[in-house]
């Protein structure tokens, strides 16, 4: 290894070099050959372009350093150039598996700044779409993680359900992913006529399908060997690392923003928070699988209690007037023109609006300077913070356990790199 690139030498010099002596001391003087390897940006098991600089002693991972930034898109900088309601499509492409949550965090923050009251029906519609998106995100996680652990057929089952959910999204908003269905002040359009029937159909079959996944995986000896008792992390270190979401709930701390600080009328629904005990990979797996059932319950209650009324705020300063009104009333035309050209102005101030995304607390920080463009938009992404927990989890484990832990961590690189 004569011509070591400056970058790699610098990478290793930071925390890794004393490692060999440490291990030698542990092992009573017998120094071993440590291999530094890249489980790099292009790797089937890293769920995106995550690069892990791993120091291995044979099969055992001694040190792990996640290196991110390979899909950094400068979304927060782009958001500063656009009007408030134009930022939503850019924000949705951040954590590309839970796009409704990004839009919800952003719209929630702007509505708090504007002190705009979202009508009850819009809140219920938001909850329905948020929970559908949570199920879809858990399904993609289940499909790809089972793929990593060898249960290939799970991928096709999970994506079968995902297609049904995407049909519902397409039915209500016209687009499968990044639907831009949430508008500041409510939702873009009311749900079409057949949506409720299709959604009831989906609610009827989903628990049965989730049971099928559970039967396939819960007593599967290979999966149990790979997950049970592997890479546990106690609640104290998780809290110190700022980890939230299913990872923290698997370790026993029932912290869920939907129950702790309810937003968009989550307080009207009756649902439980699945909590693990040991905090190992199997608990993380079981917590997410149980959350699918809870989400179905929430959707059912939201659908039953769906109130009548407007689907977006009546305040014409924020929401576009309906098209037919433009032909008749002059004010609607003026409001429409003002909103479409410059967009609404937001009173100056700073707000941090956290919500519960499928991976943890997703907080949207907005600083507005009174103009119609946000001065600063920052998304506190759960995967970005949870990624820091991989190193303590994986030290001393095998490479195969590293792959399983990464699958159970469910990082989304779009959210990490923003």
């Amino acid at each position: 290894m004569s011509t070591r690139s400056r970058y790699r030498a610098q990478e290793e010099s930071i925390t890794l070099s004393p490692l060999e002596e440490q291990i030698a001391a542990q092992r009573g003087g017998e120094t071993t050959e440590l291999l530094t390897l890249n489980i790099g940006p292009h790797h089937p098991a890293t769920h995106g372009v995550l690069r892990l600089l791993v120091t291995l002693e044979g099969e055992i991972v001694r040190e792990l350093k996640p290196i991110v930034g390979y899909v950094h898109t400068g979304i927060e900088k782009t958001a500063e150039q656009k009007a408030y309601w134009k930022v939503i499509p850019v924000i949705e492409r951040m954590d590309y598996l839970s796009y409704y949550f990004n839009a919800m965090a952003f719209c929630g923050a702007v509505e708090t700044l504007l002190e705009c009251e979202v009508p009850k029906r819009a809140q219920y519609l938001r909850v329905i779409h948020l929970e559908l998106n949570r199920i879809m995100s858990h399904l993609v996680w289940l499909g790809t993680s089972a793929l990593d652990l060898g249960a290939i057929s799970m991928f096709w089952y999970c994506f079968r359900e995902r297609e049904t959910i995407l049909d519902l999204f397409e039915f209500s908003s016209g687009q499968r992913m990044h639907t831009r269905y949430f508008q500041v002040g409510g939702v873009m359009e009311d749900i079409p006529a057949g949506f409720e029937a299709k959604l009831r159909e989906f609610i009827a079959i989903m628990p049965g399908r989730a049971d099928q996944y559970a039967d396939l995986l819960r007593r599967n000896e290979i999966l149990l060997q790979r997950l049970r008792g592997v890479c546990p992390l106690d609640e104290e270190t998780l809290l110190g690392l700022g980890v939230t979401g299913p990872l923290l709930r698997a370790a026993g701390n029932p912290w869920d923003l939907r129950k702790a600080a309810p937003y968009t009328s989550y307080e009207d629904f009756e649902f439980k928070i699945p909590v693990g005990t040991v905090g190992d990979n199997y608990d993380r797996f079981a917590v997410r699988l149980a959350e699918i059932y809870e989400s179905v319950k929430i959707i059912e209650q939201a659908l039953d209690g769906l109130p009548e009324g407007p689907h977006i705020t009546e305040d014409r300063k924020i929401a576009l007037p309906p098209r037919h009104e433009l032909a008749t009333s002059m004010e609607a035309l003026i409001h429409h023109f003002k909103l479409v050209t410059e967009g609404f102005r937001v009173p100056p101030g700073e707000i941090y609006y956290p919500i519960e995304s499928p991976r943890g607390e997703l907080g949207c920080f907005i600083r507005s300077d009174g103009s119609s463009k946000p001065a600063r938009v920052h998304m506190r992404d759960p995967s970005f913070v949870n990624l820091q927990a991989t190193a303590p989890m994986v030290r001393g484990a095998y490479i195969a356990d590293l792959i399983a832990t990464l699958a159970m961590l469910d990082p989304i690189l779009g959210g990490i790199d923003r």
């Binding site: 970058y7 930034g69 110190g240 700073e350 607390e361 920052h378 913070v385």
Partner: protein, 170 residues
């Protein structure tokens, strides 16, 4: 959320415990935030954790207050899980001397987030175990999220400006 009075109480106790720490407190949309002296950040966060029960640090993010003078701001979102209570601690640092003490030793979650603030805004965190760029390539000059950094990107090619086009569409 600590209401108006609660916020003043906390600020008072902080000011008495660490002299000269609290600059001002704002209570906006039901959320309290305390602006502190940059040098005292570790002391303030430690005392907030010990005396007021804010045991979790949720987010550390940077803000560029471009026209206003102490330009670079760093915000710390604290959370108390028992009382479901949030508090924001802000500090402002001038562009000429952007040095802030790193809180990573006692809050491990700030590790990557402080690296991102250094990468995007150029705020130096002293005492950070491994302060390097996290999102941009290693040899990238400039801090992209400062408000005076150009947005970059390609000029959109219309017929009127295709003469100055980058040429790769030929």
């Amino acid at each position: 959320m600590p209401d108006q009075v609660g916020l003043e109480l906390i600020a008072g106790q902080l000011a008495s415990k660490i002299p000269g720490a609290v600059r001002q407190t704002t209570f906006f949309r039901g959320r309290g935030s305390v602006e502190i002296e940059p040098a005292t950040v570790r002391g303030v966060l430690a005392s907030l954790r010990a005396d007021h029960g804010y045991r979790a640090l949720m987010s550390v993010h940077g803000v560029d207050y471009y026209p206003q003078e102490p330009r670079l701001g760093v915000h710390y979102e604290l959370l108390d899980m028992e009382r479901v209570d949030r508090l924001t601690v802000k500090l402002r640092v001038a562009l000429a001397e952007p040095r802030v003490e790193s809180v990573t030793p006692d809050w491990p979650t700030a590790d990557h987030q402080e690296r991102e603030i250094y990468d995007m805004f150029g705020v130096q965190f002293d005492g950070h175990p491994d302060l390097r760029r996290i999102l941009m390539p290693e040899d990238y000059e400039g801090h992209p999220q400062r408000r005076d950094f150009p947005i970059g990107g390609e000029p959109v090619l219309f017929t009127h400006n295709d003469a100055t086009g980058p040429g790769w569409t030929r």
